[in-house]
């Protein structure tokens, strides 16, 4: 899709089998991610938004190929094509062992800063670990580089020998950012990096991340459930619902002219600071999100969709171009567009 992609995700599926009974028979499948396609360009920030439980973290973890660790029988389909300097690698088919040599290229910043740092290691040990693995720097060089990185994320040299429990959530997240940047990766997956922090600190950390993104020339997949934050920082936005992408396009297009009924509903829930705009239409979705174990046929959103029609339950809608670079997965939107363009002709 994008001209110089760092990663091209095509039809990604992540299914977790569920076992039950005495002899551990397979009794079902959690379709956490069920056909997701998007791409991230060089130095681009793509925001991935959706309600909690829709599969955002699973997309992120699949993209660094660590799902097998906690769920050994996970089924991964589709492609996750990384375009590294001289080779194209598909993480969806690589075993965790084969992935090892590419690990330095893709890093992750985790949601919970309290769980993402080993409580037994000092900050310098934590940030140094990737350097030990992926560079042949000497010990003093590594130390200097660690201090350097800590400075870049707004920590001081005196912090290097401290343990995570001596830091606030915001400071811990800075350590996590320094660790992710240590190997100078092509892509960093930021899994709701500020949602566990105090509101007063969130903006600081986000601004820091934006500065570092430019300084390190890195692409971000920025996962969040807050559309206004994502609109502010990202080049493109992907809207996800129950394992499927509903809409993907340039940030201001998706934010100001959402096409998919789910994106519209999500946006109408964003609080607006401007009191004059109060008359904006507010869409309240009815019913609950279905479970990813027993998804509705066809469009997964159809059970709550305000504009649902009979065709919605037939096929899973594909993402289709609405404008160039703006993709929507909705048969109704597609139909109305076709009608409109026919009228113009």
């Amino acid at each position: 899709m994008s001209r110089h992609p760092v990663v091209d995700v095509r039809g990604l599926k992540v299914h977790f089998p569920i076992y039950g009974g005495v002899i551990s028979k397979k009794v079902g499948t959690v379709k956490a991610v069920d056909g997701v396609s998007f791409s991230i360009g060089k130095r681009e920030i793509v925001g991935l938004v959706g309600e909690s439980g829709c599969g955002k973290t699973t997309v992120g973890r699949a993209m660094i190929n660590i799902l097998h660790h906690v769920a050994p029988d996970v089924e991964i389909g589709g492609r996750i094509l990384y375009h590294f300097e001289d080779e194209v690698v598909d993480f969806a088919t690589l075993s965790p062992r084969e992935t090892r040599k590419y690990r330095s290229r893709v890093q992750m910043i985790f949601q919970d800063p309290y769980a993402s740092l080993n409580p037994r290691m000092t900050v310098s040990q934590i940030v140094e670990e990737p350097l030990k693995l992926h560079t042949d720097m000497s010990e003093p060089d590594r130390r200097n580089y660690v201090i350097d990185l800590l400075g870049k994320v707004g920590l001081q040299a005196v912090h290097a020998e401290r343990f995570p429990h001596e830091f606030s959530g915001g400071q811990r997240q800075r350590v996590g950012i320094a660790r992710a940047l240590a190997t100078n990766p092509d892509l960093i997956i930021c899994d709701e990096p500020v949602s566990a922090l105090d509101v007063s600190i969130q903006a600081q950390v986000i601004n820091l991340m934006m500065d570092l993104q430019k300084e390190f020339d890195v692409s971000f997949l920025f996962i969040a459930h807050d559309l206004s934050v994502v609109e502010h920082i990202s080049d493109s936005i992907a809207v996800m619902y129950l394992g499927n992408l509903m809409e993907f396009g340039p940030s201001n297009q998706v934010y100001h002219h959402p096409q998919h009924p789910y994106s519209k509903a999500l946006l109408s829930a964003v609080p607006i600071p401007d009191p004059n705009q109060k008359n904006r239409e507010r869409i309240v979705l009815e019913g609950d999100v279905p479970t990813p174990i027993d998804k509705p046929s066809g469009c997964s959103f159809r059970t709550r969709c305000p504009i649902v029609e009979a065709i919605c339950s037939e096929d899973v809608p594909e993402l289709e171009t609405h404008d160039p670079d703006h993709w929507v997965a909705c048969p109704i939107v597609k139909k109305t567009n076709e009608v409109k363009s026919n009228e113009i002709q």
Binding site: I66, H69, T99, S116, L117, N118, P119, P130, L133, V158
Partner: protein, 360 residues
């Protein structure tokens, strides 16, 4: 100015160091720890403290150190009585020598602080079986005329060593197998769990009794038998700990940077999974001691004449009127176990993240 000073003064302490400081602050546990460790340490010097052999013998210008040789494993401290001009069959009797040499000779010897050993039958010296405590025999003598005080202390060393070795082997097995189950999960976990379930449903007390009545029990055979039963228990803890820890994000971070499995297991997960097994350690030692006492009491434990509290207790209870035979092993066991339980309590509290969790 003061600000920078304060910042420089900031001392970073690891979690373990903080726990140790907290443990030190809990006086009851800390002093019990010091006492038990000190007494156990000293108990390795028992051959020079409580022994019927002389520390130093000077005989016809030459020096001999029989008691000190007892400290060195494998060294022979045997000197026949005739060597020192004593007319006795077999080994020299140093207590008698001391009396003989008290006047009119250049020869001399120094006896240990408490000159009786736990194995010797002293009825040959005019003593009786079941002698009440006296100045010479602080806790009296037992059914075969052995000194109870000496036996009590040697039994302390054996009990604690037994329990420590047992616990360490159990820990090694339990941590390795339980940790592997938790870390690798899947089929390996499932299979091992079934094996453990079958294994743990065997009536182990009977297995132990049957085995020790067929085979001649020895220190290491008993440890082996107990280990077979006890390692299982720890796997439950370790499996759960590893399952929980490996799902945490710091492990994901280590994997996502390409860290190797063995480093993830030993450097990342293991140090964070040891809290329950460390807090359980003292209680496991208590269990080991109590088990040994129990089997010795029933006669399936260490072979006689090994000094043991259980055997002393059995003799004492057969002759309940000889109060010192009952009182001594019970008090020794009580004090030891109480000390270790205090240590365990202190450790548990030092590892408790809550500040005020102590019942006052």
């Amino acid at each position: 100015m003061t600000n920078t000073k304060q910042r420089n003064k900031h001392v970073s302490i690891s979690i373990n160091r903080r726990r140790w400081l907290k443990f030190k602050g809990l006086k009851r546990g800390y002093y019990s720890f010091i006492t038990i460790v000190a007494v156990y340490g000293i108990s390795f010097l028992l051959p020079v403290l409580i022994n019927s052999k002389a520390l130093v013998v000077q005989y016809k210008g030459e020096y001999y150190f029989p008691a000190i040789l007892d400290l060195i494993p494998g060294a022979s401290s045997y000197y026949p009585g005739t060597k020192f001009g004593q007319n006795v069959p077999g080994e020299a009797n140093y207590r008698n020598l001391k009396k003989e040499w008290e006047s009119g000779t250049d020869n001399w010897l120094v006896m240990p602080f408490y000159p009786y050993n736990p194995y010797e039958d002293i009825t040959t010296e005019g003593n009786k079986m079941y002698e009440a405590p006296s100045r010479n025999h602080w806790l009296g003598t037992d059914n075969t005329g052995r000194d109870v005080f000496a036996r009590l202390f040697y039994a302390f060393n054996i009990s604690i060593s037994f329990a420590l070795i047992l616990t360490l082997i159990n820990y090694l097995l339990g941590i390795t197998i339980g940790g592997a189950m938790g870390y690798f999960g899947g089929k390996f976990d499932l299979l091992t769990q079934r094996v453990i379930e079958i294994w743990s449903s065997l009536p182990m007390l009977f297995v132990i009794i049957i085995m020790s009545s067929i085979l001649r029990p020895s220190f290491f055979l008993l440890i082996f038998i107990y280990t077979m039963v006890n390692w299982i228990f720890l796997t439950y803890y370790m499996r759960a700990e590893f399952y929980r820890e490996k799902a945490k994000d710091y492990v994901s971070a280590a994997i996502s940077m390409g860290q190797r499995s063995h480093i993830i297991i030993f450097r990342h997960i293991l140090p964070n999974s040891l809290v329950p097994v460390i807090t359980y350690f003292p209680f496991s030692v208590v269990g080991g001691i109590a088990m040994l006492v129990g089997l010795d009491y029933l006669g399936f434990g260490l072979p006689p004449p090994t000094p043991s509290w259980g055997q002393m207790l059995a003799v004492g209870l057969e002759n309940i009127t000889k109060w010192w035979m009952v009182f001594s092993p019970i008090s020794a066991q009580f004090l030891t176990l109480m000390g270790i339980v205090f240590i365990g309590e202190g450790i548990r509290e030092a590892f408790d993240p809550k500040v005020y969790s102590r019942l006052r």
